[in-house]
Amino acid sequence: MYFITLLRHGESEGNSSGVIQGQSDYPLTQTGIKQAKELASDWKLNHTSFDLIISSSLLRASQTAEIIADSLQVPIEFDPAWKERNFGSLQGISLQEINQDVDFFHPYQPIGGSGESQLDLFIRAGQALQNILRRSPGSYLIISHGGILNKALYVIMGITPQGHYNSPIFHFGNTGYAQFRYNPDSHQWAVLCLNNRGFLSPQSDHKLWHQD
């Protein structure tokens, strides 16, 4: 049996200033550090542990991973396959600037000129997930980003990218996590929770609506 937890990083400088981050590096804010610490102590209190942490190599994810790894004494591996979507020329642009009606886009179209298409991201998420399932059964914590975690959920649930804005979005707040149990003998995925943030104190529970 595999027990898989998909965690979004804590609040980053990019989140708090409201820009599209993509694969650019932004450190955690003080709030982000606090969120990761609150999560780590909640897991410690509830005796939740993991055999391995696999983290995106981007700074906001690796900082989150290190806080949790230190607290729970779990080894970390960094895997660039869990990096956020490459948003091309949109990286660094404020969300408000691009929050306008855009022409229809199909799922194979690179975002921001040179970025990854929805399908590119879906395929990368599928490979990243398969890499976990080729390890031995166990408990894995993945620390990653809203965009690619959405596509990992698509892979798990059997949803294909629809193009434009026509496919569902799974909201991941900062340090929100989803948990799954996978039984390879029957190919059964149990979705145990999505966007769990019940452990956060009210001061850390910013309702941020953007994804990346």
Binding site: M157, N166, H171, H187, L194, N195, G198
Partner: protein
């Protein structure tokens, strides 16, 4: 950022599973059989109500399966938050045929286990197939969206709530036990929004039960 005035153009939908019932407590297949909430089940819903009062949660309407375990759950919330309650049979639990009221041991002794279950096959010999349940869940969602945008609470059951997630997300019913299973613990809920102008579904959370600690 989502501002307040968008409330009128967006559907806010909360899908809640009933609290612990006598059938849950005894570990029986319930289907459409009449089981009421246990004391623990009522306590779960009272704590959920307390939480929603604290969070200033507002609903325009509670839509509930008419089965006792759901209606009792819905009444506690509707009375506590002072919201109208509408029973809707589309949200009833799956008709599980001869399995209703049986324990897993009784099922093993009396009902032959099918070698393979395709999605069109009735469950428990005379019950609803997975496709029928999926189609009913689709009608139930359509039925909500035939109302004007607003904040709706649905009180229902694990199986059909799973198929409504399938209908929302675009997942087909699959044979046997293939296909993801969304966990809805007793008194746990999923939160979604739907924007009709862009056909956008946003899943805000699934199996939220932070008002009740399940030690697994």
């Amino acid at each position: 950022m989502v501002s307040q005035d968008l409330h009128t153009t967006i559907y806010h939908i909360t899908l809640l599973r009933h609290g612990e019932s006598q059938g849950n407590f005894e570990g029986r297949h319930q289907g459409q059989a009449d089981y009421r909430l246990t004391g623990r089940g009522k306590e779960q819903i009272r704590l959920l109500l307390e939480r929603w009062v604290y969070e200033r949660k507002l609903f325009d309407l509670v839509i509930s399966s008419p089965l006792p375990r759901a209606i009792e759950t819905a009444e506690i919330i509707a009375d506590g938050l002072n919201i109208p309650l509408k029973p809707e049979p589309l949200w009833m639990a799956r008709d599980n045929g001869v399995l209703a009221r049986l324990s897993p041991e009784e099922v093993q002794q009396t009902v032959p286990e099918p070698v393979f279950i395709n999605p069109y096959q009735p469950v428990g010999q005379t019950g609803e197939s997975l496709w029928q349940l999926y189609l009913r869940a689709g009608s139930a969602i359509q039925n909500i969206l035939d109302n004007p945008p607003g904040n709706y609470l649905v009180v229902s059951h694990g199986g059909i709530l799973n198929m409504s997630m399938y209908a929302i997300l675009g997942i087909h019913p699959q044979p046997k036990l293939y296909g993801p299973r969304f966990r809805f613990s007793n008194s746990a809920f999923a939160t979604l929004t739907y924007t009709p102008a862009s056909h956008r579904w946003l899943v805000l959370g699934v199996n939220d039960h932070s008002h009740w600690d399940y030690t697994e």
